[in-house]
Symmetry: C2
């Protein structure tokens, strides 16, 4: 039998996994809403984000309460602090899904995504779903090797992001400035979503090994992923 | 005389204020680098961000150490947890300044900012400097009334952001897609910078009053600040 403290920690871990499910579902539905110009789906994603915000607040309250009541040290303390950081990542991932849904809503009844980049956006959505699902498994399993595989998904996301920017700036863009603005932001939302998933996985690695991968401090490629003019 | 715990808390607070200075200086220099296409200044901002990352890491280590050694409860516990959240905001603000500097570097020797939107970007830079300076004062003074004035600066930033998007999407944009991509991202970086400053101020309010302003949970206007097509 586990003691009360570790039961509480398990509860926190379960809640983090639940947050990965919600963030993944939100991004999957946001991608569909964006590609299909589905206003109802977009609205449902925007609405559902509140639930993720609430979960984060609940989880952080549980964590602070746990710190106050149990006064953990060493690994136990690190687990609680790390859980609070992961909940911040996951809540932000929900925000990013909501942002994608808002772009879909803003352009309704048209699709914000020109036909020739649909395939790229679709793939970005798929990578986003995959990487957050893996982040959930890593939280549940504490599997350091599995955590490392998220890097590859993130590399795939960076490649797609680079492709997307390539299409925006290679001089062949025919869809006007407004569509360019939409696609620039949408591309950034997907990329940041993946960054936060990697950050979650790195935090698990830190928890298990005590070693903080320096790259995890700022796992963002952003502008550098744009090909120079 | 203050006890050891409160001396440590003071040290953490001082370090947070120092982080606001660094983030403010970084964004001020990034704005100049962007407007003047000053590659050396851009490089110095990109380089200096590491210092802010280090400070955050140091501060978080101090905080965890403080939790382990002193096992604070109630307000003291809340202060330490809040400090860790503020350090995350401030580190992110440094990242955003670095992103602006990277856009300047990417377009060098040209300026990424077309002449007709220079004034808007300049103002966004000024609001960014002002809001982070105020965040620093709020951390130092714990002044709840001062914290509330950051909302007005953030509203000013949102207005400027809306103006910027207006120029991108009103059909008169003459500077090509690449410049539109740059300006879309730069606009978002300034806006997010201000959001994080407001978030810091809200956290101080929470610390002092125990009341978490619901709006503080997600203080982001983003896509909604774009005028509909």
């Amino acid at each position: 039998m586990r003691d009360a403290f570790h039961e509480d920690l398990d509860k926190i871990s379960d809640q983090l996994v639940e947050m990965t499910h919600l963030a993944g579902s939100a991004m999957a539905r946001a991608t569909t809403a964006l590609l299909d110009a589905d206003i109802n789906l977009a609205e449902s994603v925007i609405e559902a984000d509140k639930h993720l915000d609430d979960l984060r607040e609940e989880l952080d309250a549980m964590s602070v309460d746990l710190l106050a009541r149990q006064q953990p040290v060493a690994t136990d303390l690190r687990m609680v602090v790390t859980a609070m950081r992961m909940s911040a990542d996951l809540e932000r991932m929900g925000d990013l899904a909501r942002h994608v849904a808002k772009v879909a809503r803003l352009r309704f009844p048209e699709s914000a995504v020109p036909a020739d980049i649909r395939a790229t956006i679709l793939q970005m959505g798929q990578v986003a779903e995959r990487i957050v699902a893996k982040a959930g498994q890593v939280i549940a399993s504490k599997d350091v090797e599995a955590a490392k595989t998220l890097e590859r998904d993130d590399d795939a996301m960076d490649d797609l992001h680079r492709q997307l920017f390539g299409k925006l700036v290679d001089g062949t863009w025919q869809h006007g400035t407004e569509a360019a603005v939409d696609i620039t932001l949408v591309g950034r939302y997907y990329e940041r979503f993946a960054d936060h998933a990697v950050s979650v996985a790195h935090r698990v690695v830190y928890l298990v090994t005590g070693e903080w991968d320096l790259e995890a401090r700022d796992h963002e490629e952003d502008e550098d992923s744009r090909p120079p003019a």
